[in-house]
């Protein structure tokens, strides 16, 4: 074996539109996903390790309502969002009163159980075979949008409509959260992060604020789940491994705590890199390349957290890390 192929990185991929549309769609989806984590971790000081579980609940509820129950997609979306928010409240009620590390443990356990249910309740979710047939109404819309893209020469790009809708949603949500951050509600949230006892002393119900924060994060996870479902066109339990929550944390730390727009930049960086590694020509099997990617994700997470915990755009004074 020579070392030449090991280093042969083909840069052709970066010139192709397919690559960028695929990678940026994922970046948009996981940016929405991570906005929820940012609200919890960066603005409320609640360590939510179960975001992939909320994503799964949203996506599967939507998929089941459309494919099995026969509801319209447009009706299923708000219902699934409410269901996911209810799940967020349910998980928060017994655990948010306890210390932060309990909440981290409970949420990761919760997200594993959701994935476990998706895997084993085969009658409902299709198990590992996956759940299909929930996206016909979206495809109608997508085709219409795609035809409308003819003047800019994107009519061949099947995923372009999803990319556009994902990013529009992302920008609307990030702007809305940015706005909320300045409202009295947002200020109380940050006060909860800084000093819960002080907030309670002022007569605010800190617990209720934390619950609201979790419910909104759950809803954001659900929205990201819908786009992921439409992107894949089928739902599989493996798309909701806790791994994705931690990629979310890598995005969060990279973009900086307490910055909603940092999340977007972080997500673009992480997903450009993750997708680009698919084009590395290494003398390794596909499963080894996949394993190597996640070794690198782990190492990056460790090094970032150890040496630059405020991320690229984070402000030191907004840090909650130094407890």
């Amino acid at each position: 074996m020579t070392w030449a192929p090991f280093l042969a990185l083909s840069f052709e991929a970066f010139g192709s539109l397919d690559f960028w549309i695929g990678a940026m769609t994922l970046a948009g989806i996981y940016a929405i996903f991570t906005l929820g984590l940012q609200l919890n971790v960066g603005f409320t000081g609640v360590i939510n390790f179960g975001q992939a579980g909320f994503m799964a609940i949203g996506a599967y509820t939507m998929g089941i309502l459309v494919a099995d129950v026969g509801l319209s997609l447009w009706l299923a979306l708000p219902i699934a969002t409410l269901v996911t928010m209810a799940a967020g409240l349910l998980i928060g009620l017994p655990s948010l009163r306890l210390r932060a590390d309990y909440f981290a443990i409970v949420t990761i356990a919760f997200s594993e159980i959701i994935r476990y249910v998706a895997q084993n309740a085969r009658g409902l979710t299709g198990g590992n075979q996956g759940l299909l047939g929930f996206d016909s109404q979206w495809i109608d819309v997508s085709n219409a949008v795609q035809d409308g893209l003819a003047p800019v020469g994107l009519e061949d790009q099947f995923l372009a409509p999803l990319l556009i809708v994902t990013w529009l949603t992302l920008l609307v949500l990030a702007t809305a959260l940015r706005y909320l951050q300045g409202t009295p509600w947002g200020r109380v949230l940050r006060a909860v992060r800084e000093d819960e006892d002080a907030v309670r002393a002022l007569g605010k119900n800190a617990f209720a604020y934390k619950l609201q924060s979790i419910a909104i994060a759950a809803a954001l996870g659900a929205v990201a789940g819908y786009f992921l479902a439409l992107n894949l066109a089928f739902l599989n339990p493996n798309s909701f491994e806790p791994l994705y929550t931690f990629i979310g944390y890598a995005i969060l730390i990279l973009g900086g705590l307490a910055s909603f727009f940092g999340v977007i930049v972080g997500s673009v960086v992480v997903y450009t890199l993750l997708e680009a590694t698919r084009f590395l020509e290494l003398p390794l099997s596909a499963s080894q390349v996949a394993a190597l990617r996640f070794v690198v994700v782990g190492l990056v997470l460790i090094l970032l957290v150890a040496f630059r915990p405020q991320g690229i755009f984070g402000k030191r004074q907004e840090m909650v890390l130094g407890d």
Partner: protein, 341 residues
């Protein structure tokens, strides 16, 4: 440290005081209450399902309980001593199992030496992470989120490095997984019997060591109150190191026992077990070593008994159910104290 004192006698009191003192008795003797609940569940199950299946699943529960307890005790000691919620602990089990595989299959060593290798090498990995990651981070005064994310990153690195080298195909150790022994109408695999006996022997050893040796007492003291232990003149550095050796070594052993009992190993086995280990730790009271031992065994029983009522593939969900129930009913766990919450 333990809540074994003051056995009040509700029977000797009037009915109204009896009620109040029953509550105090219950919270003063959580171990007794837990034993009572387990007994009640066992009786109810025997009444509805018959004695033989309950005894058989109970036996299976003790087998898995033995390695749950060994995994959980390390997790809880590291938490108690260093306030580190180690999400990489499950992957230490995986690391132990694969170390045994390398020793046993790749190098062709006998299984006993392979087990020893798993314990030693995993303990070394624990010490390595302490030196390279946790001690420097403690010195920097790292916060909770930082430490949590670093343990997660470490979990990724260990698990996927193993997957990189060994692949995802299931591997087996050179142990006898087919022959079984029968007694009193119950059947147990020969290897499983060895796993259970070895597991409980080590568990008892760990319990005695924590209770009666100077090192064990110091470990519990650190776990109880680090600063107080330090000003009492305990060499905390040495005890922290011992805790890592202990926790990681037992995790390595638990990984081998799990693999021998189940028959196969895959790189995600530890992460799979982590949820159960956390449930055992919280059930026993986070940071409490005896609690983790008891919690592990109880979870093994709960999971196996649940198979009498629901399909076996829901076994893992039982751990989660226990976790949530404990948090609602008694968030400090069986042996924990409320002020720690």
């Amino acid at each position: 440290m333990e809540a074994e004192a003051s056995p009040a006698q509700p029977g000797a009191l009037g009915r109204r005081e009896g009620r109040a003192s029953l509550r105090t008795t219950m919270s003063a003797n959580p171990g007794l209450v837990a034993a009572g609940i387990v007994l009640a569940i066992a009786v109810a199950l025997i009444a509805t399902q018959g004695l033989q299946p309950v005894a058989q699943t109970g036996l299976n529960g003790l087998i898995s309980g033995s390695y749950f307890a060994l995994g959980a005790v390390g997790l809880t000691l590291v938490y108690g001593t260093l306030k580190l919620v180690n999400f990489a602990h499950g992957d230490l089990l995986t690391f132990g199992a694969y170390t045994a595989f390398v020793a046993n299959i790749t190098l062709g060593l006998p299984i006993l030496l392979a087990v020893l290798a798993a314990i030693v090498v995993t303990a070394a990995l624990g010490v390595f992470t302490e030196r390279v990651m946790w001690r420097p981070m403690r010195a920097k005064g790292a916060g909770l989120l930082q430490l949590l994310l670093m343990t997660l990153g470490l979990a990724f690195v260990i698990r996927y490095a193993i997957q990189f080298v060994a692949g995802t195909a299931p591997r087996t150790l050179d142990v006898d997984v087919t022959s079984s022994v029968g007694f009193l109408g119950l059947r147990i695999g020969q290897t499983q019997l060895v796993v259970m006996l070895a597991g409980f022997a080590v568990l008892i050893g760990v319990g005695v060591m924590l209770r009666s040796t100077s090192l064990g007492r110091q470990m519990r003291a650190l776990s109880d109150n680090f600063d107080l232990a330090e000003v009492s003149g305990i060499d905390t550095d040495r005890v922290v190191m011992a805790t890592w050796i202990f926790a990681a070594g037992l995790a390595g052993l638990a990984g081998v026992l799990y693999t021998s009992s189940i028959g196969t190993m895959t790189p995600n086995l530890g992460f799979f077990l982590l949820l159960t280990l956390f449930a055992a730790v919280i059930l026993g009271g986070i940071g409490n070593a005896y609690g983790a031992l008891a919690g592990g065994v109880l979870l093994g029983l709960a999971q196996e008994w649940s198979t009498l009522l629901v399909d076996a593939r829901w076994k893992l969900a039982v751990g989660f159910l226990v976790l949530i129930l404990v948090l609602i009913v008694r968030p400090q766990g069986l042996f924990g104290r409320k002020e720690r919450l």
